[in-house]
Assembly symmetry: D2
Homo-oligomer: 345 residues x 4
């Protein structure tokens, strides 16, 4: 039997991807959509300016959009996907949790809170049980689970493979991020045509802290951050989808280029609907992965890597993931599948 | 009195920039242009598909293009600017030097040869005297001087400022390079629209070796490479001009973000026509420098930096220069001015 | 002695171009800047996110921005340049005129009003005297003068040359318009990368009506619209600046490709500071004009044409102008110069 | 039983699309691939720099590429798809036909020859029987069938619907064409970033003549060209795939915007594998079709139209098709299916 789900912030760029992925999903059934006050009362077709390059699902198009508050969502909805601006998420997500809803959230607010699990199911599924601590502390019937920022997700599966085998000490990462990561009105065409912007507000801090929480250890009571040192430099470039990243990973153990590629290639998916069989695709061609050619690896849920070179202190490589699929909407849905499987709904 | 100059490879992207800069130059007078056999005998207007966004200089347009060999260049030409594919440069540049011409070359062949000076006048003008060694060893009346690769030039002035004050130990650099760096037919539009390419053949090695030669010490007999460790990751992105680079510079001495910015801001130009008063422009806005907005800093001969952050081992920052001006044509001309001033013509 | 001028909507894309052009202008002196309520009280540097690829003029940067209402502008200001959203312009421009200010406006509101002159000085400077009628009817001490839409301005100088010599009957025009025409937040990068949009709301109607008013005749009392039939199709493409247009002009008299080019080449500028010596530059190369290469013709105040072909009913050709210079900010300033020369200030 | 097919020019942009479409095709089986002499003897994987955003078919990847001459193709190959530069096609296609092969060609040579059928199966399938005349005149066992240029194909299905119902008299068309139409090395990134090029050599003539042949009548002996007047203006813009066109269609009969849309919407596909159920998709949103959002209509084999407006003499509208699918590779394959069905193999 399907789980009835709601989507908060359903008209935005990530919201549209959520709809695209949820419509044919075998476990979930879309039962409620919310957006800002100005959209409430309209059909989804009217409220959303649909820009995904596949047609708008016809049955979803006729759903009436509600305001983003618990009262606007039916009681029989079991799971909420949230893709709200962080300032809005910070306020309304706790209201939904308090009202008993389980929320799988892509919004950046609260990701580093001590009692909020931050998970990529293939990397740290065990952290989901931090929900027990959260419920104790906050007295919620519902729960709040976060997925990381899109630029963090892109590199962490590869880093986890290296850390397990060779023990990470330092990471430097330079990103070439697509405009869709900022949402529809995030990057003006006047800013980015024939240009690149070497700064994305708050993004470097997210990569530097979230990656240490994801690779941290959970003892049933708290998550101990990984002690590696992470330094990020984030750039916006004129690509539509797909974040490309150059990584230098320094390791305690010796690692060759071949070792590193093998460790990544061996990573499998997990037993959840949206997790690919092989999580990380390794390219031998030195000029791959490329955003346009490789962002749809494994239906947009895979990570592509290449360009391995041994360095004095470890290895350097490139990685790529689809930022609104694996990096946002798909990440939240995968977390929803994890919540379902672990019996949190 | 003007120095009569010739340009080898005058029809290419860098060749056109050389023409644009030489035409109004107070010290130099264009006396000969060469290109491939198929262009020889045509006027420059016919041979070059002029694509600079300023009109073709009318007097230069009527010059007859010659073949790229010493016989095609008048004897009273004193200085040759070379912007040839490296495979061609490797063969014909020595022929010109042997025939008595002094060559200021942008081509990549021979840059790391022990008796070939590689200079940025503001950084290591003293290396030019390696020409004495070169003439002794090769028995040339002429001489061969190189400027570095465009991606190397972009970061080295900033690195030199840090090294002088804080002693560099390790450098990691990730580049976001413009398509003009590959010449007119270098990057197909089908490759780069909505895309980035995380590999530029040979570019990483150039940055890793040339930077150590530029910051090396010259004792009158040989250049001792700097012992810092440099690791580069090079990317092509959909920008027209201007290479942007993310740099992590680890230093032996402690350095704060403010220290680093001040050290760079203090760098002045040298007493040569094409050297700007202030070599390095420091931006305080975190999202600058940007290729389209800042590539023409100091008429394209300046370097722009910003985004300073202190790291565990040093400092990270971004730098930008116009790759066909400061990074290629302007670099060769500046080296030509140095040769003229030092009496090598 | 300079005329003291104010700029309404000074922080937008056209507003920034106005500042860039007015700062060094020999006749005008910037005395007041206005913007939306949220910017009032800030310095211009704080209020405007300056994105022109030349530095912000230092003295202008420190001017305090006022709200967009007559009380916020000093009485000794003689001329107002307005670049407001049309809904705002419709409301406040009459207030300024009533308060005695003469307004040269780029905003689209009111352009087709019977008593509002719509002028391109090189085309129909005589229409400016419609101000007499306007003052009579509206009882204003001030006055309101409009320049046309950027896409209209691009084609009208060429059309006027053809009409004078060969008598226009029908015009079809297809546009390839740059994103800056929509302002900073007008076109999202998610909409336009690897894309084109075959519709710009209201733009086709503007081209179809404004062109007939510009080429219409003024008898001292009213402007009789030209009776030609104009049909436009407007497209947004991923270029930054410069509108390119394909035009089919049907004429009553026979016209060859050469005739048409000659008629355009003969058009001179007028005796105003911002009007170029030669208004229309004719290219013989069939692949010119191109937006990036030719938008700065005559400092952005020229029109470039090419690609002439004779058709069954007339001639087809391409034309190009810089949409924020000749097509907007420069157009308003040129109209301001006309108002000054004709003694309307 | 499958038809064994060969592909001439298999490594180019259209060649790769042919491979992508033929590999899963139910009627055809790839038996031979040819390319230039320099590729002969290599596997397809080595010879082709595969750039389609789907993996290279594994079995095709290992086929050995032959030279482009009849001897290099096995005798049991029944059908040849040709996507050669026209200068090469002009020479070798007749050699293949003389050697008994039936050739479905995308190359532009010979399209207007009197005894060469030029077909779009949904528009003028009956013209295929011109092959009888061709065989008589040229004494071939094989045959040569052409599909039109990509920019012609984009507009002709819509024009045919209008002509049938309202009788076309004049057509003006302005194109916004994607870079893939020129092949991998056709448009340099230095030419097209932040730019548009208002000329594509020979393209206007192709649209003006081919469209009249396609809509012409065939009486069993010759094709009488349609007597409408067609004038085209062709532009290259920075899009990857998908040609967008603005059309003015003048008609003898009165036509409203609704009439025109209905006439197009009624066009069905034909009974061939690659022909879509509905050939022309009509959009009501005025800003559609757009290249990136709509080029994959009906798997890239549909045509999308919109933006209907009544004009004085007829109707104006926009149309869009995927230039390397419906406009090239898919067009040739559809013609191959027609040849198979009509018994010409």
């Amino acid at each position: 039997m399907s789980v009835r789900v709601g989507v908060l912030g359903a008209t935005g760029a990530v919201g549209q991807r959520l709809i695209q992925l949820l419509d044919p999903h075998p476990e979930f059934e879309i039962a409620a959509l919310t957006a800002s006050e100005s959209s409430a009362g309209k059909t989804y077709r009217e409220a959303a300016k649909w820009r995904v390059d596949a047609p708008i699902p016809t049955d979803v198009a006729e759903i009436e959009v509600g305001a983003t508050k618990p009262e606007a969502v039916p009681d029989d909805v079991d799971l909420i996907f949230s893709s709200l601006p962080s300032s809005v998420g910070q306020q309304v997500e706790p209201e939904f949790c308090e009202a008993g809803y389980v929320v799988s959230s892509n919004s950046s607010n609260g990701r580093m809170d001590e009692d909020v699990p931050l998970t990529i199911p293939e990397v740290n599924a065990d952290h989901v049980d931090l929900i027990e601590v959260q419920r104790d502390e906050r007295g919620w019937d519902g729960a709040l689970l976060k997925n990381p920022n899109c630029s963090t997700i892109t590199m962490v599966p590869a880093l986890e493979a290296l850390d397990r085998a060779f023990d990470l000490t330092d990471v430097r990462v330079s990103t070439l991020q697509a405009v869709s990561g900022a949402g529809y009105s995030g990057v003006s065409s006047m800013e980015i045509i024939d240009n690149a912007i070497p700064h994305i507000g708050g993004e470097e801090q997210k990569m530097e802290t979230e990656s240490r929480k994801l690779l941290g250890s959970f003892d049933g009571a708290e998550v101990q951050l990984h002690d590696m040192d992470v330094a990020a430099s984030c750039n916006r470039i004129p690509t539509l989808d797909g974040h490309l990243e150059n990584v230098w990973a320094d390791t305690a153990e010796d690692v060759s280029a071949e070792d590193a590629a093998e460790a990544m290639e061996a990573v499998t998916g997990v037993d959840l609907h949206s997790s690919p069989d092989q999580l990380i695709k390794v390219f031998e061609e030195p000029d791959r992965p490329q955003p346009r050619l490789d962002r749809n690896t494994e239906g947009g849920m895979g990570v592509a890597v290449g360009g391995f070179r041994e360095t004095t202190d470890g290895v350097q490589f490139n990685c790529l993931a689809h930022n609104t699929m694996r990096g946002a909407a798909g990440a939240s849905i995968l977390n929803g599948e994890l919540l379902n499987k672990r019996g949190y709904l």
